[in-house]
């Protein structure tokens, strides 16, 4: 999450701009503090001095109060806009187009095919090939969110009714944490995501695995879990490809078990955390659309968690 430790060109430019502004502000602060100390030390009451109203005296006010701030602000303006101008924009080449939709409070991720139709839908974990430019289209399904991966790129808002266009290119293999950066309601802080930059072989393997339908149950417990999933309320909101669960209101769970976190980073992805989430999601993330469900007994709840967790 450290924006000053960048792993891409745009993030490095932003970090540099940040340092430039910090140093400039420090110089201004020191200058003002020095002049202020000098004024205090002069102690004009003791010397019975009157305000200096000569042109030389007014010069301090014109220089220090108007010219100097105008110069500093103009410098920052020029440097900041030129930094902005260095970002890749519309039309820059990309190897992949991904549509990210902000939702209260998670991220829907659609990988688009050549005709810009969704080819693969997942959530909260964006895999990209390392070193390649990826085009990310940003929209919102409800309120304004902001897509921010500090180590890779500046933040860009997701605005209802509009499409924003961002380029991501990670220079190094790794997992980069992202976070919603525009206050979007109760669980804004629990609206995280991960950008995983894979080498091309790993990325191709991931892509092939994701295209497959959800894993079939491997034992009696996961079989019971799938039965509960398809018969109960889960399937009304969630999709597991290859089954009758085709809900689109909530994250696609076809390969849920392959992700590192659940509920947009509210919990690490583990069997225990998953059962707690299914058992009473609003206790963990108050305000979430995922309801408290009391349809299941202990065995069924365990089976349900085991099934969803088995969808690797």
């Amino acid at each position: 999450m450290n924006a000053l430790n960048a792993d891409s060109e745009p993030a490095r430019r932003i970090a540099l701009l940040g340092w430039f502004m910090i140093v400039l502000a420090a110089i201004v602060f020191l200058g003002v503090a020095l002049v202020l100390s000098w004024a205090v030390a002069r102690n004009r009451y003791a010397a019975d001095r009157t305000p200096d109203l000569t042109p030389r005296g007014r010069g301090w006010i014109i220089f220090g109060g108007a010219l100097m701030p105008a110069l500093v602000l103009a410098t920052i303006f020029v440097v900041a806009t030129s930094t902005l101008g260095m970002f890749p924009v519309h039309g820059a080449p990309s190897v992949l187009v991904v549509h990210v939709t902000g939702r209260q409070w998670w991220w829907q991720i659609d990988y688009l095919g050549p005709n810009m139709q969704p080819r693969l839908t997942t959530a909260n974990e964006l895999h990209i090939p390392v070193g390649k430019p990826v085009r990310v289209l940003l929209t919102s399904a409800d309120v304004i969110h902001s897509f921010w991966v500090p180590k890779l790129q500046g933040k860009l808002d997701l605005i209802p009714g509009d499409t924003n266009d961002l380029r991501l290119r990670a220079e190094r293999v790794g997992a980069y944490r992202g976070q919603c950066a525009e206050y979007c309601g109760l669980q804004h802080a629990h609206m995280a995501f991960t950008v995983v930059a894979d080498d091309s072989a790993t990325y191709d393997r991931w892509w092939t695995a994701q295209l497959a339908p959800g894993a079939a149950p491997s034992d009696s417990e996961t079989a019971l879990g799938r039965e509960m999933f398809l018969r109960g309320p889960c399937a009304s909101c969630h999709t597991v490809r290859g089954t009758s669960a085709r809900g689109t209101l909530a994250p696609d769970l076809t390969h849920f078990g392959s992700r590192g976190a659940l509920a947009a980073g509210a919990l690490p992805n583990s069997l225990g955390a998953l059962e707690g989430w299914i058992g009473n999601a609003p206790a963990i993330k108050p305000g979430t659309q995922m309801p408290k469900i009391t349809d299941y007994d202990g065995r069924e709840l365990r089976a349900l968690a085991a099934y969803v967790y088995s969808l690797k």
Binding site: L267, P268, S270, L271, G272, A273, L274, E275, G276, W277, G279, N280, A283, I284, D297, G298, R299, L301, R302, A305, A306
Partner: protein, 114 residues
């Protein structure tokens, strides 16, 4: 910042654990790592706000656990390691917690008095 860190060290629990061989601090880390807090409320564990199972605050004072076992360190460990062996219909999952780690978890839980 340094003052905060220094103070964090001096307010640490120093009382010896009531569970032989159990380590309170390691237990806290383990409870967090296994996301026990997704189902249980546990004082002192960040994010332990779950409301699927019973809150574990005050567990050191209770006499029965899992509705049927006397609340002893041995039973607590057995319950954590394999809940279904005690109560086949329980919602509590078997998370493959090792015996040593279960002992540490029990050590932490027995610091939770009312």
């Amino acid at each position: 910042l340094l003052a905060t860190l220094a103070c964090g060290a001096c307010t640490r629990r120093v009382e010896p654990s009531v569970v032989p061989g159990g380590d309170v601090e390691r237990g806290a880390v383990a409870l967090s790592a296994y996301s026990c807090g997704a189902c249980h409320q546990i004082s002192g564990i960040t994010g332990a706000v779950g409301r699927v199972g019973p809150p574990l605050n005050g567990i050191a004072e209770r006499t029965i656990i899992a509705g049927e076992l006397p609340n002893t360190p041995g039973n607590m460990e057995r319950w954590i390691i394999d809940p279904q062996s005690v109560e086949p219909g329980t919602a509590m999952p078997n998370l493959h917690v090792s015996p040593a780690m279960a002992r540490d978890m029990a050590a932490y839980l027995y610091t939770l008095r009312d």
